[in-house]
């Protein structure tokens, strides 16, 4: 076994373990952290395939930005695990069918000879910049799909803003008539927050 194969199996083992922990971890924050580990290892495997741009991009976009926001949300959620687990056995048959379907689809894609690239043609000669090549392809052969993807993203962005937009805030002046009747207990509420145990 040469060094590259060893690295591949090493990274794959971590990736499979992390992916499994994403769905088995009881604590949602731990699950999110394992997802980050999975993305990072995935980047490593892509780097091994000489796709350095994709490898760096997944770390930059998913690990560096998307998962930070994801973690941000997950940390603030108050998730009651017992309530989520209530319907587990009812949903299991449907979930199992969907899972099997996905495994079959993946098997079809991976087993299909027409979709496989022989390993020898993938190897790029030294001196060819991965980033430059991807850029050239994106703006020549794949310019329409590329623009389409950017429009889809733009629509998603506008939709997200439209969903959370609560209208413009009116001016910030205070009405002194209401102001003099304000009591401290209307404004300030002291909460008791017991320390949570993990």
């Amino acid at each position: 076994m040469d060094f590259q194969t060893f690295v591949f199996y090493f990274l794959s083992a971590i990736l499979v373990f992390a992916a499994l922990r994403v769905i088995t971890a009881r604590n949602p924050v731990h699950a999110a952290l394992h997802l980050i580990l999975a993305f990072f290892t995935c980047g490593g495997i892509w780097a091994l395939l000489q796709a350095e741009f994709l490898a760096i991009a997944i770390i930059l976009v998913y690990v560096g930005a998307v998962m930070v926001l994801f973690l941000f949300v997950v940390m603030m959620l108050d998730i009651n695990l017992d309530r989520i687990r209530q319907g587990f056995w009812n949903y299991l048959p449907l979930g199992a069918v969907l899972g099997l379907l996905m495994v079959m689809e993946m098997g079809l894609v991976l087993g299909n000879k027409a979709l496989q690239i022989p390993a020898s043609t993938v190897v790029t000669p030294p001196g060819v910049s991965n980033v430059k090549e991807i850029g050239k392809m994106m703006f020549t052969d794949f310019v329409y799909p590329f623009e389409l993807a950017s429009i889809v993203l733009l629509v998603g962005m506008i939709a997200a803003i439209a969903l959370t937009w609560r209208g413009r805030k009116k001016s910030k002046y205070v009405n002194p008539n209401q102001q003099v009747f304000v009591k401290a207990k209307d404004r300030l509420r002291v909460l008791q927050m017991p320390v949570e145990k993990d």
Partner: protein, 349 residues
């Protein structure tokens, strides 16, 4: 140098490349850590002088051994883990803060030949690695199971993501005009141009044609570092010390090491990307790594100066600056640079 390489190759045989790389890593990390130690002293001294105090002057002549004493003190202190903390993550978080701060140095060039790994996408690599530094802060805040620490972590997460966008756009302008993602080539591109022909190299560096981007990069770099006036994640007067309030001993020291080595990293990047790196400001002076060190020192001094001068931003003002001021400026300047490059007036041919 060649003699050393030959001797080593004979001694270690097939393992020599790995050993030689390790030697190079140590040669980068040791001066870096020394720089971090003395940056803390410089900070205390400089801010002391700006506030008409003396600063540390007890340990050694002019307080020069102070950082060593501080380091030893922290090393021998107990690392306390608070009850109810998520222990594993609590201990991993400082490592996650410090790891990226060191890993980014792998591709930083000091001269056109003095670089550990001269890879094509080095700028992308640095952006990717530095964007991971935020996890140390978020996880430390979450794992401490303390309200102040959690508030600090939340503030930091939102702030880092916001300013990364402005920072990314300013880097985008720089790589557009350099036509490369390689830091060595980006520095090389700044050494030629109209003014460089007259021997006035410093007017050919990226800071002049990309002045708005330089300012945006400098300010959002300060925000990314969580340095004053953007240090709301720490906010010692509001949330005690933010994310690292529960840490002690070496775990606490790691956050400091991460912060200061990130400061040196961002200062180095600013020098490389917009201030011409190791090229000399005037044509008749020889280029060399000393110019890079001088530029880094100037920018580091600027950070210390900021801290001594500006009051801390309020959190909403900070977000407003990132999203409503820097982002539009970046978007407009990106278009301006694109049009400029395509017009006959382009200075980047």
């Amino acid at each position: 140098m060649d003699a050393v390489i030959n001797f080593g190759a004979g001694l270690f045989g097939a393992a020599w490349p790995a050993v030689w790389t390790l030697v190079k890593i140590v040669a980068i990390v040791l001066p870096l850590l020394l720089g971090v130690a003395y940056l803390t002293l410089a900070e205390r001294k400089v801010i002391g002088f700006m506030q008409v105090r003396i600063g540390p002057n007890r340990v050694g002549p002019y307080g020069l051994i102070q950082p060593i004493a501080d380091g030893l003190k922290l090393l021998f202190k107990e690392v306390l883990v608070p009850g109810n903390a998520s222990k594993g993550i609590f201990l991993i978080a400082p490592m996650l803060a410090f790891g990226p701060a060191l890993a980014a140095w792998a591709v930083v060039p000091f001269t056109d030949t003095l670089v550990l790994a001269n890879i094509d996408a080095s700028l992308l690599y640095i952006m990717a690695i530095t964007s991971m530094g935020v996890y140390g802060i978020i996880l430390s805040g979450w794992a401490s199971n303390s309200k102040y620490a959690f508030l600090g972590a939340m503030r930091s997460a939102a702030q880092m993501v916001s300013y990364e966008i402005a920072m990314g756009f300013s880097l985008l302008c720089i790589l557009m005009v350099s036509n490369s993602l390689n830091l060595v080539e980006i520095v090389g591109g700044q050494q030629k141009g109209m003014f460089a022909g007259y021997g006035l190299n410093f007017l050919s560096w990226n800071w002049l044609p990309l002045l708005p981007m330089f300012v945006v990069y400098l300010i959002s770099g300060t925000a990314e570092l969580n340095r004053a006036p953007f240090d709301v994640a720490e906010g010692e007067s509001e949330i005690v010390a933010g994310f690292h309030v529960e840490y002690s001993g070496m775990a606490f020291a790691l956050f400091f090491l991460a912060e200061y080595s990130n400061m040196i990293l961002v200062a180095t990047l600013t020098s490389l990307l917009v201030l011409g790196g190791w090229s000399s400001p005037l044509g008749f002076l020889p280029d060399g790594v000393w110019w890079l060190l001088a530029k880094i020192s100037c920018i580091l001094f600027l950070y210390l100066w900021f801290r001594a001068t500006f009051p801390r931003y309020r959190y909403d003002q900070l977000m407003r600056l990132g999203w409503k001021v820097f982002l539009p400026i970046c978007l407009i300047w990106l278009v301006v640079v694109g049009v400029w490059m395509m017009s006959p007036l382009s200075i980047w041919k």
